[in-house]
């Protein structure tokens, strides 16, 4: 179960829009043969990452709010998120990726990093977990579907892709729930309840001309994420009703130089492994590590 929390986010970032091209709108049909599964896999891979043997990176700035099932949203913090996927095309027409991800925390909508966070609703000072996850195995299969492996409970559902002018939209929706490994009886402050819920939606917007160009293996894209998620354990919300509501915006980046400076500095300081994905082989799971850390403190 610990694996779930690890695989979820990375898989969503890397495996979006399973099968979406099969349902592409008529505007894209003239340019893209959307009924060719091989084409669909290649197009998906080049938007999500790359059809070449190379690393593709995505940077997102995620503003996270609290929704208490009543009232309006309340700002919590900003999460800088760096996702690196090492892609490799396969002989059978599929595309495999190793997914690595890290996150660092900032005062809401600023570049002011936080080491500790005061929960505005409980008044308690909390320490964020060490957000370094991966590697996750991800495959875009020849027919365009996605496989995230047995350890992943991610269930991305395809939504149709379509184009508008020279814009091409690739989207996915994922909604799932699972027994919470943080039992309320053992973790009254960290556990949000017996079941964890995670709804997450990704959207990639790319240029249709790039997508249709066979010479372009790694298509630039704007990326948007939104989610509605059971309270993370480190927030210390206990069994208060509600979820976090996230809004992330960013892009695929050509190099680390494109990561905003303040965010890059914080990644180097707090999640250095994200810069060593070539030698990062042991599985890291932020949730499990956070729980182990709390247990050790006890």
């Amino acid at each position: 179960m610990d694996q779930q929390s690890f695989t979820r986010r990375g898989a969503l970032a890397g495996a979006a829009a399973a099968g979406t091209l099969m349902a592409a709108g008529p505007a894209s049909a003239a340019t893209l043969d959307v009924n060719d599964p091989k084409n669909a896999a290649r197009i998906r891979a080049k938007i999500m990452g790359s059809t070449r043997e190379e690393a593709a990176m995505t940077y997102l700035r995620i503003n996270v709010y609290a929704f208490f099932n009543e009232g309006t949203l309340k700002p919590l913090y900003t999460l800088s998120n760096l996702n690196i996927r090492r892609w490799s095309p396969q002989a059978d027409g599929s595309f495999k990726a190793k997914v690595f991800e890290s996150g660092t925390y900032f005062k809401f909508d600023t570049d002011e990093p936080i080491d500790m966070w005061e929960n505005p609703f409980t008044g308690e000072t909390r320490i964020p977990g060490d957000f370094q996850n991966g590697p996750l195995n991800l495959t875009i299969l020849p027919d365009g579907s996605i496989s995230t492996g047995a350890e992943a409970t991610l269930k991305p559902k395809p939504l149709r892709s379509w184009s508008l002018g020279d814009n091409f939209f690739l989207q996915q929706a994922s909604g799932f729930s699972y027994p919470n490994p943080w039992k309320p009886s053992e973790w009254p402050v960290e556990s949000a309840g017996e079941t964890s819920h995670w709804d997450s939606h990704y959207l990639f917007s790319a240029k249709l001309s790039d997508v249709a160009n066979d010479d372009v293996a790694n298509v630039p894209a704007t990326v948007q994420l939104q989610n509605l998620v059971t309270w993370a354990p480190w927030l210390g919300m206990g069994q208060r009703p509600g979820r976090t509501w996230g809004r992330g915006v960013g892009a695929k980046i050509k190099s680390l130089d494109e990561v905003p400076k303040a965010a890059l500095a914080e990644f180097r300081k707090k999640t250095p492994m994200i810069f060593e994905t070539e030698t990062w082989t042991a599985l890291r799971d932020e949730t499990q590590e956070y729980r182990n850390k709390l247990k050790a403190k006890r």
């Binding site: 009232g71 309006t72 709804d199 959207l203 704007t222 939104q226």
Partner: protein, 301 residues
């Protein structure tokens, strides 16, 4: 109150980054090429160019909005998809701000399709409900260095968030959270009312290429536009008395002209909201909630 209902969505769509006067974002210290965001006129120009236009011209934006139901437990449940067309007539003002007159409509379709629906089956209650297409405008908006300035009738309170630059893309972002007394009182509208108070959280982002923003020859930058929201149940869903909200995600772009509007989407808009294709003759304000209430009452009688 009625004006607020009509103005809400359009305001956020076109005039985000509002208020926050004095709350200059960190991005105000940034430079984009030769453009200095610390200069208020430059900042206003950048916002207008990304969100709309800095010239006297009409800007069309099309979104597909997927609506899900969140009933305060479990996972999201798909409800319906709205094809949303926003038409804004922009013009520069003498002081360096930009004015917009906004018209907007939305046609409802079966989820993630262009199949228009006139009757919708509520997945939570099983009830079949008559669809109420969305129509709103004209609304006046003034866009300045730190967002839109709206008239006093609007209860929307968008807050400026910083302008972000990632790689070669500039992001203009806003958030709005507000609540107001629901004109549909629960005792009178038990099926339609979401409660005595109506809540509306809505967040917008417009993303454009830096090269387009700094290009003096362009009056508007092509933009990827997205909004997401969390809103009390609209009356037509018939979720009265049920906890929860709609969870919306929408994405689209500015259009070069209406010719770019996807054919199937245009057909749904022509069918459900033909007014949106005749904005030159649309002068009377359209008020969503009051019109819905009047329509339901007439239907019941």
């Amino acid at each position: 109150m009625t004006t607020t209902t009509i103005s809400r969505r359009g305001l956020i769509a076109t005039a985000a980054m509002t208020a926050a006067a004095g709350a200059i974002s960190p991005a105000s210290a940034q430079k984009i090429g030769d453009l200095d965001l610390a200069d208020p006129k430059t900042r206003a120009m950048v916002r207008a160019k990304v969100q709309g236009s800095i010239a006297e011209e009409t800007v069309y934006s099309f979104y597909r909005l997927h609506l899900y139901g969140y009933v305060n437990e479990g996972n999201l449940v798909p409800l319906t998809t709205m094809n949303n067309l926003n038409i804004t007539k922009w013009k520069p003002l003498p002081g360096g701000n930009y004015a917009g007159t906004v018209f907007e409509s939305g046609s409802y379709c079966k989820f993630d399709t262009d199949e228009p629906i006139e009757v919708w089956e509520n997945p939570f209650t099983g009830e079949k409900r008559d669809v109420w297409p969305f129509i709103g405008g004209p609304l006046k908006v003034e866009l300045g260095p730190d967002g839109g300035v709206t008239d006093e009738t609007a209860t929307v309170k968008p807050k400026a968030q910083r302008i972000d630059i990632i790689g070669d893309t500039i992001f203009v972002v806003s958030q709005s959270a507000f609540s107001f007394p629901n004109p549909l009182k629960p005792e009178e509208w038990p099926k339609e009312s979401a409660g005595p108070t109506y809540f509306w959280d809505s967040h917008f982002v417009h993303a454009a290429k830096v090269a387009d923003v700094v290009n003096p020859k362009l009056t508007r930058a092509g933009a990827f536009s997205q909004f997401q929201n969390l809103v009390s149940w609209h009356p037509w869903f018939g979720m009265g008395g049920k906890p929860g909200r709609t969870y919306g995600k929408a994405y689209g772009t500015k259009l070069k002209s209406l010719d770019e509007l996807p054919k199937a989407a245009r057909a749904t808009l022509e069918k459900q909201t033909p007014e949106i294709f005749d904005v030159d003759n649309w002068t009377k304000p359209r008020l969503d909630f009051p019109e819905y209430m009047a329509w339901r009452k007439a239907k019941k009688s």
